[in-house]
Symmetry: C2
DNA sequence: CCAATCAGTAGCATATTGCAACTGATTTGA
DNA sequence: TCAAATCAGTTGCAATATGCTACTGATTGG
């Protein structure tokens, strides 16, 4: 039978051409990325997601289903007991740079000058350096030095 | 009178502690980041934003206002003529890494294996390398090698 | 066995978004 | 110059999405 890809239930994209738009079609709502953030912090149970985000339970049900359907989370039976748990797939973990850049932007632009906020640190407690896009030869890149090249 | 910061009309944060949540409170809806994406491509006029995104005009009005109110866009009178235009502020341009990582995730995970898509290239037409978070000493970082440290 | 916890569902109220039509100020062009 | 078109919205109403509260049904712990 004709399943052409292993991918998710096809949805109709906002703009099928644009990778940014496609990504936002999957996780560009109020809650999905917060669920992913918490999953990255090690959260696995329905109740814990609910407690941390404050999301309504029916919406959480919906989001967990969607993320699972699109292959960002997988649902499995917990090793001990018969409790369910949600864990990030490789695709889900690959959102790490997205969450990180959102975090870094927020730290810099969504807090007042003196205001304190949490920080992301590595194993040794050293803050994660700021992401700075560069070209292959190392020169910094920004909006003025890049552009989108349409697919051939 | 007591205006303590120069910042935007204070909104009530989903989770005031978390920079990710704060960022998503500002741009974590269906459309804002697409508007920012287009602004990075050089779009400045209401109509052009509308045409590119396909967003309803009343919603676009609302989003442009919000982005302006929160300091991501500034609205000014176009140099020639008396037409209005919206341009990214420094804070808005600082979302470049966010858009870039969303794009890179999408290219990799939201297209079927053989499917073509656009690419972001630099001045010389060379594709922008993939963002890979590292610690200060250069070792790659992921969800398992980082954690959030609460503010002191 | 009883109470508590977990993972949801169901029903209804509110909020957000989308659609289509309308305005009012330019701008174009015949 | 006058009509048509474009730009940047606004308004009203319909369709969706979200949130809140209460309920269920399966485990689990004591």
């Amino acid at each position: 039978m004709p399943r052409t890809t292993t991918h998710a239930p096809d949805l109709d994209w906002t703009d099928p051409e644009c990778p940014v738009a496609r990504t936002l079609d999957l996780v560009g709502d109020r809650w999905s990325l917060l669920v992913v953030r918490d999953a990255m912090d090690g959260v696995r149970s329905f109740t814990e997601f609910q407690r941390r985000t404050g999301i309504a339970r029916n919406i959480l049900t919906d989001r967990l289903r969607k993320l699972t359907a699109h292959g960002l989370l997988s649902q499995r039976t917990a090793p001990s007991g018969r409790r369910q748990e949600y864990v990030l797939t490789d695709a889900g973990r690959a959102l790490f740079p997205v969450i990180l850049t959102l975090r870094q932007w927020g730290e810099r632009h969504a807090f007042a000058p003196g205001e304190t906020h949490s920080t992301l640190v590595d194993q040794h407690g050293i803050p994660v350096p700021k992401i700075a896009p560069t070209s292959a030869d190392g020169t910094p890149l920004g909006t003025d030095t890049t552009h989108v090249q349409k697919a051939r």
